[in-house]
């Protein structure tokens, strides 16, 4: 990555090429760096051509689910009988993930370009960029960039002189994690409570304001101009392991590594190399204990699994976790896993939208049990109870928030059972006072 560290030779910089380059933030600077060529070209293409190109490139959703982007676009009705909408999901709230923030801070015009291409491809005249409320700087940067894009005729009723209407608005979130879920995000834009909706109907049939809608992550949309410029073959060739996972991906590394930050590597890159090479290994000569590779919602890996993990959609599944949003959280041997898992569960209990019973009650109950274990009042049966609750919290609800709470609990108990038992039998006392 380019900022604050110089790029590591093993990085492949596509999205992060201009991170730290303040000149790329302005319209003129972006154009000087080759910006908006892809949009100009896309506007001269057939919509279907663009969708096919993105399909062909193998670009998959970077927000967490990894759904093929071109396929998602192809679900939109071909005939535009009612307004279509594009939503850019910039609600980046997943603990451990901070890549979209950097994209918006340094290359706002790249995101606008990607959004405009996607909007054109799916016949949407209006795009909402839904930005997490706490992202004050990215919001300011994006709003400035949007004003510039309008002033220079990139957006508006006649986008780049194509006769195509492409309007774009920034919508600021109000601080709910769940609003990053695509249907909750649509409710939030509509001014409703940010609750996920039941599917079907899917957003491509009835989304924002009841109209066909596509929702894509910031990183997904920002990748699109590069695919237009360099072709599907080029993008597809960016793959180190499994051909189903193509392109580069930003990984936000946090935790007890020497050099945390955003790193862009080609999919299939070994997690081991990311931690030991790019991030300079563990801090203070400590050793690696555990890692959450895809944001807080995915199962925790122990050391052996971490060192065997290849960073792509399939590689993560092979070691029992998920690529998720690419928020890599690293724990060294000083980490208290029981406490860490309690903190995660507490987060989900706090953020549950309160619709589904399992989630509303289950996340809070899970947190209470973990707190009690930390307070030295746990019982061995509590571990079985936690596993049983987690079982009933998985795959039963409208959205996966509840599953996300269960995943670290189940993997944590299975992989670090000894630490839980130490609290229960009294050989371990809580090191952190803020329980």
């Amino acid at each position: 990555m380019g900022y604050p560290h110089p790029p590591h030779p093993k990085e492949t910089q596509v999205l992060s090429k201009y991170f730290g380059d303040a000149g790329a933030r302005s319209y003129d600077g972006w154009v000087q760096r080759g910006g908006y060529q892809a949009l100009r070209q896309a506007l001269s293409m057939e919509r279907q051509q663009i969708i096919d190109l993105v399909k062909e490139s193998g670009l998959r959703g970077r927000g967490g689910a990894g759904f093929p982007a071109g396929l998602k676009w192809s679900f939109m009705p071909k005939e535009r009988t009612k307004p279509h909408y594009l939503c850019c999901n910039a609600d980046e709230s997943e603990p451990g993930t901070f890549k979209d923030r950097e994209i918006m801070r340094w290359t706002p015009h790249g995101l606008i370009e990607g959004c405009a291409i996607a909007a054109y491809a799916i016949s949407a005249e209006v795009t909402y960029i839904y930005i997490r409320g706490e992202f004050t700087e990215p919001i300011a940067v994006m709003e400035r960039a949007l004003a510039e894009a309008y002033a220079n005729g990139v957006l508006g009723n006649n986008a780049m002189g194509s006769g195509q209407r492409i309007d774009m608005y920034v919508h600021r979130g109000a601080g709910a994690y769940i609003c990053g879920e695509e249907t909750a995000l649509m409710n939030s834009i509509e001014g409703r409570r940010g609750n996920p909706r039941i599917r079907p109907p899917f957003p491509a049939a009835r989304g924002l304001f009841g109209m066909p809608t596509t929702i894509n992550n910031v990183e997904t949309l920002s990748s699109v101009p590069y695919i237009i410029n360099n072709g599907a073959e080029w993008y597809k060739s960016l793959s180190l392991s499994n051909p189903k996972s193509a392109g580069t991906k930003l990984f936000s590394v946090s935790g007890q590594v020497a050099k945390p930050g955003n790193y862009e590597v080609v999919l299939g890159f070994p997690l081991k190399d990311l931690i030991y090479d790019l991030c300079g290994g563990m801090r203070d000569g400590r050793t690696l204990k555990a890692c959450i590779p895809g944001g807080s919602s995915v199962p925790i890996l122990n050391r052996a699994e971490t060192e065997a993990c290849l960073l792509d959609y399939e590689g993560c599944v092979a070691v029992g976790t998920m690529l998720g949003s690419g928020g890599v959280i690293v724990f060294d041997d000083s980490a208290d896993m029981v406490y860490q898992i309690m903190r995660l569960a507490h987060f989900y209990a706090h953020e549950s939208c309160a619709q589904c019973t399992q989630c509303r009650e289950g996340t809070a109950w899970t947190t209470r049990i973990l707190r009690r274990i930390l307070a030295g009042q746990g019982q061995l049966e509590d571990l079985d109870l936690l596993l049983d609750l987690s079982h009933h919290m998985t795959g039963r609800t409208i959205c996966p928030l509840c599953d996300s709470c269960a995943a670290p609990v189940v993997s944590g108990i299975n992989k670090f059972r000894g630490e839980f038992e130490a609290y229960i039998n009294g050989s371990q006392r809580v090191a952190v006072t803020a329980v």
Binding site: I198, A349, S352, A354, Q358, E361, G362, T363, H392, G395
Partner: protein, 531 residues
């Protein structure tokens, strides 16, 4: 429905029973057809689907996860297991989750006995909770939501039926879910009340004892009351209701589902309109006026006296009827006065403006506040009350059937040669009547009303009448027999049979065909109306 109007049908298997339902039906509704009610909380047939309680989970063979049956549509060849181990365990866990913050205060909760949480926990819940006593339950104080609604947040299971009713059916979204996670509760607009004319329905919709009626608070337990099908007397809409009685008093009124009239709802005016049924100042014996004061007597003497008056009179008869008496009584009164020139009229209370329920087309608290005005019109009574009152001058006999509107003076009534009163209470205006006959009210008799859409609807006896009071149809049919004009009717069904034989609008109808949901009477042609 396809374009041709033909419904596409789908056949599936639910718990081993094959069932064929229209395409688009949900598994939950299809299961009802084979007699299985899949436990559910947030689902209600008249509300948009929320899919939030996750209680109605069933196993659909081939699907990786359990499905919520309230939202999952049937598919051909589907094999649904409601009682498989996996489904039962899932529902058991939902009940356990719901109970961790739900107080076990059933002994003092009004909902006990008709509580869906209680019922399903008995049916499918765990015998013991694993939520140890050292964890505290959520506590929030009781809130006053509106004129007749209390909110007990501790009992709330966040099914959001009330929120969806107010938002999508009543179109007055004063309540919503507030807060997140297990701190969530139903919040109300800080400057508003839950005072919509139809707001009381949220109490019925609430599956637990979280929304309570202040009127019914701690008045009776659900298992102590008797329930009787009836028709609301609040206005001419004719909402189907259930009268709940305890110790021969009506204690609560509930809507009774009728998809053609009121769906699952009734307005607050109708809901709180039951106290009249329990009046203590009722007429309990027939009265005959021989001197200055009326004297109590028995039915034989009273009927004999009336028969003699009717037989001895001729010319003009005035009939002032209440639009809240049964169609049978109105019909028999016409029969009784068949040999007279009859001036018959009724006066229904009119209130400016209606209070519609926007989510149900054709449903409103009507401005005409009488349950049987249409029945009275069909049987030839006019709304020209003034003309009928004027005709009292020189009338040979006047019969007042049911409650009189205020404003008719005693002296006016006594201008008729003979005044006969059939009523439930002795009002001042009718104290001069030659004969007073005590009749029962709607809660105390069988009968029928015709609502504003010409739907004939039956109501059933919910409690016994006071003293010697008898249904008006019985009194009038006995009089007809006394006069030698036919057999007396032994029950309301027989009186209705007679009506159906003689009145074209009711031709071919019977209590069987009217049933519990009503049947439409023929509408007179325009020519007949003007005549």
């Amino acid at each position: 429905m396809t374009a041709t109007g033909q419904q596409e049908m789908v056949t599936l298997t639910i718990e081993g029973c094959e069932v064929t339902v229209p395409k688009g039906t949900t598994i939950l509704e299809a299961a009802k057809r084979v007699g299985i009610v899949i436990p559910h909380y947030c689902y209600h047939p008249s509300l948009p689907i929320a899919g939030v309680c996750r209680m109605c989970l069933v196993e659909v063979e081939g699907a990786p996860n359990l499905q919520i049956s309230c939202h999952t549509q049937v598919a051909a060849g589907q094999n649904v297991r409601v009682y498989s181990d996996k489904a039962l365990k899932a529902r058991e866990s939902v009940l356990e989750f719901l109970l961790i913050n739900h107080p076990l205060d059933c002994p003092i909760c009004d909902q006990a006995g008709e509580c869906e949480l209680q019922n399903y926990v008995f049916r499918e819940g765990r015998p013991r909770t694993r939520y140890t006593p050292t964890y505290s339950k959520r506590f929030d104080p009781v809130e006053d939501f509106g004129p007749d609604i209390l909110y007990v947040p501790n009992r709330c299971i966040l099914c959001t039926r009330c929120v969806r009713f107010m938002e999508h059916v009543a179109d007055d979204d004063v309540i919503s879910v507030a807060e997140r996670g297990d701190r969530a509760f139903i919040g109300i607009h800080p400057e508003r009340q839950l005072d919509h004319p139809w707001a009381g329905n949220v109490v019925d919709l609430c599956p637990v004892g979280s929304l309570l009626s202040k009127d019914f608070l701690h008045k009776a337990r659900a298992w102590e009351v008797d329930r009787t099908a009836s028709i609301c007397t609040g206005c001419s809409q004719g909402c189907n209701i259930v009268l709940e009685t305890r110790d021969n008093s009506v204690v609560r009124v509930h809507p009774r589902a009728n998809l053609e009239v009121n769906r699952y709802f009734m307005c607050d005016h109708g809901r709180l309109n039951y106290r009249g049924f329990n009046r203590g100042d009722r007429l309990e014996a027939p009265l005959i006026k021989d001197g200055a004061a009326p004297v109590a007597t028995d039915w034989d003497h009273a009927l004999d006296r009336v028969a003699r008056i009717v037989k001895g009179s001729s010319g003009t008869a005035v009939a002032l009827v209440s639009p809240a008496v049964s169609t049978e009584a109105l019909f028999l009164l016409r029969q009784l006065l068949a040999d007279f020139t009859v001036k018959g009229a009724f006066q229904a209370e009119q209130v400016a403006g209606e209070a519609p329920l926007p989510g149900v087309p054709g449903l409103a608290l009507r401005s005409e506040r009488a349950p049987n005005a249409t029945g009275a019109r069909l049987l030839g009574f006019t709304t020209d009350y003034a003309a009928a009152v004027a005709a009292l001058d020189g009338a040979s006999v006047a019969i007042v059937l049911g409650e009189l509107p205020s404003g008719v003076a005693r002296e006016t009534l006594e201008r008729a040669a003979h005044l006969i009163y059939l009523g439930t209470v002795l009002e001042d205006a009718v104290r001069g009547a030659a004969v007073v006959l005590p009749i029962t009210n709607t809660a105390e008799e069988d009968g029928s009303f015709v609502n504003r859409d010409h739907r004939v609807q039956r109501y059933f006896q919910a409690k016994s009448g006071p003293g010697m009071a008898r249904p008006a149809w019985w009194v009038l049919s006995e009089l007809l027999a006394e006069l030698g004009r036919g057999e007396s009717s032994s029950d309301a069904a027989q009186a209705f049979q007679l009506l159906a034989e003689r009145e074209a609008a009711f031709s071919g109808m019977s209590y069987e065909t009217v049933g519990y949901t009503g049947a439409l009477a023929a509408r007179p042609s325009a020519a007949e109306v003007s005549a």
